[in-house]
Structure formats: structure tokens, C-alpha cells
């Protein structure tokens, strides 16, 4: 998952805790193996190296692609799993290394989910286009883990994959799980949240940016322009029933730039936005 993953639990025996941790870890690794774009031979690798040929996918991948398509249309193209190639032009390392416009334009030709053809279970992408499910995978893995835990146990658990987390219920010893939202610059929690049920997900990383001529370019790229979203928040945390919903809402809000709060105000979920 590219980040620390943890399972918090309230159980009578350490053997049970070890067993549940092993089950959750196995599911996380399974999803990573399957969806990571860095692993040769998995379904993502097959799609990204198909070079214009159609690829038939398994049912789980098909469901994820359906979901990605829904988000693409809901966000009017702002959420796009084909936008990963733009990383070739942008490296958010705090420098003033802003790419030249033609460089971005050249990559933008290969971005756009609507340029491909998705007829479940067959995906056909033009050559040189790639998909990356990294924007969904972590939250999806958290929710999968929670579903497995719920099916196996009625005890309280908290699944935390790199800051995106969900619980199966409130702990008994205390009334709620206490989760701190970190303000990235200070490295300390600025707000504590009592989570009894549901999930929290955070988008944003204030340490990843570029700066030139006084203009700050945050790391969230709008796939329709190829350029960073202007006035994006430094971090947005959303609470929702599932980690996937929370994660997608925080990502969509991030893509809204300056109007993230007004977008989130119209949704029915709670959020915490740092600028």
C-alpha cells in the first residue's frame, strides 16, 4: 500500500489478534498484488501493456472499472484513472521545476477515460494509455478488510491503511476510537475525532508541491488540463459510511480547488479541510 498499515483491535486473546491481523494482511497483500501498477504480470500490467488490444478482466477488476467509470462521469472527467501518465511531466519535490506547456500537452493526448472503450468485462485502451487504480485501491482494501472482519467477528476493530481507515464498531472499554487528523506542516494532530462507526479518509499532502515566481503548484493534477488544481486545500478529511466513499469525496473535493468547502457543504458528510 506504500504506507504503514495497522489493525487495532479489542480482543481477549493475543492469538485471536494475531489471527485476525493475518487475515487482514493477507487481503491487503492480495489487493496490492493484483492492482499495483508496479507489479509485472498482474491485470493492471496486462491492461497497460496491451498496446491497443482488448483485455478481458476478472469480475473484481470489472467492478472497480465500473466504479471508476461512474466517478469519471460524476466528476465530469476530473477523476480519471488514466491520468497517471502526467506524472512523467510533474515531480512535486518542492523545487521550481515547472514543466514546459508542450511537454504537458504531449502527455495529455494519452489521458481521458472516454478515449477508451469499456464494455464489461472487456477494456480496450488506445496504445500508450495506462490506468492506475491507486486512487481507489487503498480505500477499497480498507472496506474489504472491514467486511471480512465483520463476517468473522463481532468484536471492535479499526483498520488503518496509511491514514485511510474504517471501524467495525465502537470499542467497549471506551465509547469511541479517537483518531487525530494531522496538519501536515506541524506533524501533530490538530483535531481529534471520536469514531464509533464508519470511516475516515484524507486526501492531500502539503509537502508535495512546486513553486515558481511566487506561485505554488500543489500535487493534485486536473487531468482535463494537465496542470495542478489551483488553490487546492493542503488536506481534506471526510467521514462517511465506508472508506471508499470518504476517500472519493475527499479526492473530488481536492479537485474542486478553491470551492472544495462549498462542494463538501452540499454533501451530507462531515469533513475537515486544512488550507
Amino acid at each position: 500500500m506504500g504506507s504503514p498499515c495497522e489493525l487495532l483491535c479489542e480482543l481477549e486473546s493475543s492469538r485471536d489478534a494475531e489471527m485476525m491481523t493475518a487475515i487482514v494482511a493477507a487481503e491487503a497483500w492480495r489487493i496490492e498484488e493484483k492492482l499495483s501498477r508496479y507489479i509485472d504480470g498482474n491485470i493492471i500490467h496486462q491492461i497497460n501493456s496491451a498496446n491497443g488490444k482488448p483485455v478481458e478482466v476478472d469480475s473484481e477488476t470489472a467492478q472497480l472499472l465500473d466504479f471508476a467509470e461512474t466517478l469519471f462521469s460524476l466528476s465530469e472527467g476530473a477523476f480519471d484513472i488514466t491520468s497517471g501518465v502526467l506524472r512523467g511531466a510533474w515531480t512535486f519535490d518542492g523545487s521550481d521545476n515547472i514543466p514546459a506547456r508542450p511537454e504537458v500537452e504531449a502527455l495529455l493526448i494519452h489521458v481521458g477515460w472516454d478515449k477508451g472503450n469499456w464494455q464489461s468485462p472487456v477494456l480496450t485502451l488506445p496504445g500508450n494509455m495506462e490506468i492506475d487504480l491507486g486512487g481507489i485501491g487503498k480505500e477499497y482494501a480498507v472496506d474489504r478488510a472491514v467486511n471480512i472482519l465483520r463476517a468473522d467477528s463481532d468484536k471492535p476493530f479499526l483498520v488503518n491503511f496509511g491514514g485511510d481507515l474504517a471501524v467495525t464498531g465502537p470499542p467497549q472499554a471506551r465509547k469511541a476510537w479517537t483518531v487525530g487528523i494531522e496538519a501536515v506542516e506541524q506533524g501533530e494532530a490538530t483535531q481529534l475525532i471520536e469514531l464509533r462507526q464508519g470511516a475516515l479518509a484524507t486526501s492531500g499532502d502539503a509537502r508535495r508541491f512546486l513553486k515558481r515566481d511566487g506561485v505554488r503548484y500543489g500535487h493534485v493534477i486536473d487531468p482535463r488540463t494537465g496542470w495542478p488544481v489551483e488553490e487546492a486545500a493542503s488536506s481534506i478529511t471526510v467521514a462517511a459510511d465506508t472508506c471508499t466513499q470518504a476517500g472519493m469525496l475527499s479526492t473530488l473535493a481536492m479537485l474542486k480547488g478553491a470551492s472544495a468547502e462549498s462542494f463538501l457543504d452540499k454533501q451530507s458528510e462531515q469533513y475537515w479541510c486544512h488550507r
Binding site: 466504479f67 466517478l71 464508519g198 475516515l200 472519493m248 473530488l252 454533501q267 458528510e269
Partner: protein, 436 residues
């Protein structure tokens, strides 16, 4: 994008997520910002019977909770005291007139009654501030300051405490200190110890202000024994030095045979009818105490039992046993009976009266609080959660104290009188604690 379209995103997203994760219907999110403020307020009434001391106390403890277990605590207390307090003089079979502590008026006590200083009236305002924060993974520091002001009294204090957890946080060892400087500035000036009460307006036996310094050191350890049992032990040492007298307390000077107070002729402007001396206590007092406490949890019930032994170099030894039992009633109410037993021996310089003609003792006080007495408190607290999940409670307690005068100190007619009447008091408290 239109407003209505944006609004429908979370709904469409919920449907899409349901399709992705399968048919299982997720639990509805329940997230809440942890409160940053924890405010505890209370109103307390303490009333002694027979028109002795009555006290109303309004208290607020405001805690600002920061992340990473850092806490700032601010406390404010306002006390109002009225009523009468025993002056230290013995009752007589005839009326007696006594100059008040400030030396500017007299009061007359009817025959057979314990002399009470009726002018006991004061307002106290006290503030405390405290900062607590973790140091590293397993330690905590706490620093605080306090100040209080009464009409004739000023207090400043500083405190600090360090604690460290061991053994997977099952053991906590702590060390703390407190220093305070108090200034006593009674109206008319602090009286010269063992000087006689004089006629109205004669302030020649009064000095200016007097100070005392207090140093406390506490060492403690608490240990989790099991899931149900936590025990704690503290040792504390306390030293007070400086002006430790109570400027309002006097002693009767009595005849060696009859035990009656020696008569005196008051001046034309009025003055005491008998001979009285202001008390005198040593100007240094060191106390040591050992406190042990056990808390036992069983299905929401909590038994809290503690014992304290205190000894000081005034030769007061005391024992306190305190028992509380928290008994849940339904989901959000509880009853808590409380019993407290206290006993102490008298100070070595405690004496009922001073014998006329005998050599004057170096130290003498007839303050009943320095005497030999037993006390018991019995009370009941009822607590409940309000509809917005805050805590309210009412507590009513009865306090009973009965003391005795060492046999050898009772002279002649004194034996027939009640020199150390029992004290009964009622304590009522209402508390409201809320978070936001």
C-alpha cells in the same frame, strides 16, 4: 456543475460503492469531533448547626484539551463564609464580654454558652492554573500556579509534578512539589502571641502583617494489579513555617481552683470583662502522611477505599478511612454512598485554659481543631446523564464531630460545663459537567 448535480454526488457515490463492495449494507457513520473543553461547575453549601459557620462555594474547573494529551486547566472558586466560630474561650456561669480580634468592638456571651466570635464573615476568591503535557513516550509533567485572596489573607503558590510509566503503563511513579507563600493581614494587625485582650481601641498588642511559607513534597506510586484492581500509595512531607497562629483564637485565663475565668475591670470605653490571651503556636510545623487507595471495578460498580495516616511534630496523629461505592442504576444513572471516619489526637500545646499565676506556657491554643476528636461523614450522591450526554449530580452529606478535653486539663467548675460541644454539619452539592 449545477448545485443539484453536485448534491447528488454523495448519493450516486453511495450506490456505486454498494455495487463495488457487494450487497452488505454498511453501518452508518458516527463520527464526532472530540470536545476541546471540559467544564466542571459546582455549587456547594456547608452549614454547621446552631448558627455556626455557613459557607457557599461556587466552583468552576475549565479544562482545555489539546491533542497529544496536553491539558490546560483553569480553576476559579468563590467562597462566601458567614456565621460564628468558637473563639477558644470557655463557657462560664455568668455572661462574659470579649473584645473582637480587630480590637475595635466587644461582644457579650450569655451565661452557660460557648463563646463564639460572631464576626466571622469573609469572601474568598481563588484561582488556579495548570499545564500538563507528556514528555517522551512514558512521562508526564505538570506545572501549576495558584493565588487566593480573602479580606485578610493572601496566598500565592507554585507546584510541579513529574510522573513516569513503567511496565507497559501498569506502574506509574510520580514525584511532586508545591511551594506557597501566605500573608496574614488581620484587621488591626496580627496580635502579639499570648498578649492580653485589651480595651476597645487599644491596639498596642497588635503588630502588622505576618507571613508563612509552605513546602510540600509528594512521592507516589500507582499499580494496576488486574483488570479490576488499581492500587496507589503516596508519601508526603509538608512543612509550614512563619506565622501559624489563628489571629481570631484566644484562651481564657482561669483560677487554679475554681476553673472560672479571672474577672477584669473594663476601661470607660468598654473592653473585656475577663482575662483572655491570644493563642500562640510554634512557628514551624512538619507533617508526614502516608496515603493508600484501592479501586476495585466489577460490572460498572466501583469500590473506592482509602486510608490516610498523618503525623506531625505538633504531636497530632490522625487516621482517615474513606469508602465510596459507585452503584449504576440503569444505563446512565448511579448512586454513590460515602462513608468517612476520622480521628485525631490533640496537639501537645492544646489546652482548654491558662491557669492564672502559673508559669505561662511557651505555646498554647484552645482551637477545637487542634484538639482530640473523632468525626464521621455519611453521604449519598446521585448522578445522571442529561439528554445531551452531560453529567449532573447532587450530593448530600452529614458530618458529625465530637471531641474531648484531656482529663487533667479540666479544673473545678469547668467539669460541669460543655467545653467542647459536638459539631454537626450538612453538606449539599450540585455539580454539572459539560463538554464542548
Amino acid at each position: 456543475m449545477s448545485r443539484s448535480k453536485e448534491r447528488s454526488i454523495s448519493v450516486a457515490l453511495a450506490t456505486a460503492t454498494c455495487g463495488l463492495l457487494g450487497s452488505s449494507i454498511p453501518a452508518v457513520v458516527d463520527a464526532q469531533e472530540e470536545p476541546n473543553w471540559d467544564i466542571n461547575t459546582s455549587l456547594l453549601y456547608y452549614g454547621e448547626d446552631e448558627d455556626r459557620v455557613q459557607e457557599f462555594s461556587l466552583k468552576a474547573i475549565i479544562r482545555r484539551l489539546y491533542t497529544d494529551d496536553r491539558v490546560f486547566t483553569f480553576g476559579l472558586t468563590i467562597d462566601g463564609l458567614t456565621g460564628a466560630s468558637p473563639s477558644g474561650a470557655i463557657p462560664l456561669d455568668s455572661p462574659q464580654t470579649i473584645t473582637n480580634a480587630s480590637g475595635n468592638s466587644v461582644y457579650t456571651v450569655p451565661a452557660g454558652e460557648l463563646p463564639l466570635d460572631e464576626e466571622f464573615r469573609d469572601t474568598r476568591v481563588a484561582i488556579t492554573a495548570n499545564w500538563q503535557q507528556p514528555v517522551g513516550e512514558s512521562s508526564q509533567v505538570n506545572i501549576g500556579a495558584s493565588a487566593s485572596k480573602e479580606y485578610d489573607y493572601l496566598h500565592f503558590g507554585l507546584s510541579g509534578r513529574f510522573s513516569k510509566d513503567f511496565n507497559k503503563r501498569n506502574t506509574t511513579v510520580s514525584a511532586g512539589f508545591a511551594v506557597a507563600s501566605d500573608e496574614n493581614d488581620p484587621e488591626g494587625g496580627a496580635p502579639i502571641p499570648l498578649s492580653s485582650l485589651l480595651d476597645i481601641g487599644d491596639l498596642s498588642n497588635h503588630l502588622g502583617t505576618d507571613d508563612k511559607d509552605i513546602v510540600d513534597v509528594v512521592l507516589g506510586v500507582s499499580q494496576v494489579i488486574s483488570r479490576n484492581l488499581v492500587v496507589q500509595a503516596n508519601y508526603s512531607f509538608s512543612n509550614e513555617s512563619g506565622y501559624l497562629n489563628n489571629p481570631f483564637k484566644i484562651l481564657s485565663v482561669v483560677d487554679a481552683t475554681t476553673g472560672d475565668t479571672i474577672s477584669r475591670v473594663a476601661g470607660p470605653g468598654g473592653g473585656p470583662s475577663h482575662e483572655f490571651l491570644f493563642e500562640n503556636r510554634p512557628n514551624d510545623r512538619s507533617k508526614q502522611s502516608l496515603y493508600t487507595q484501592a479501586k476495585y471495578y466489577m460490572d460498572g460498580n466501583v469500590l473506592d477505599a482509602s486510608y490516610r495516616y498523618m503525623t506531625d511534630d505538633w504531636e497530632i496523629d490522625s487516621h482517615t478511612i474513606d469508602l465510596r461505592y459507585r452503584w449504576p442504576v440503569g444505563n446512565d444513572k448511579y448512586l454513590e454512598p460515602h462513608l468517612r471516619f476520622y480521628t485525631q489526637t490533640e496537639a501537645e500545646f492544646y489546652r482548654l485554659s491558662i491557669i492564672d499565676g502559673a508559669p505561662l506556657p511557651v505555646y498554647a491554643s484552645s482551637d477545637y481543631r487542634l484538639g482530640d476528636f473523632d468525626a464521621m461523614t455519611a453521604g449519598l450522591k446521585f448522578g445522571w446523564k442529561t439528554s445531551d450526554n452531560n453529567d449532573m449530580s447532587v450530593r448530600v452529606e452529614l458530618y458529625q464531630q465530637s471531641g474531648s478535653i484531656p482529663g487533667g486539663q479540666i479544673i473545678g467548675n469547668q467539669a460541669a460545663r460543655n467545653n467542647y460541644p459536638d459539631l454537626n454539619a450538612i453538606i449539599a452539592q450540585f455539580s454539572y459537567r459539560f463538554k464542548r
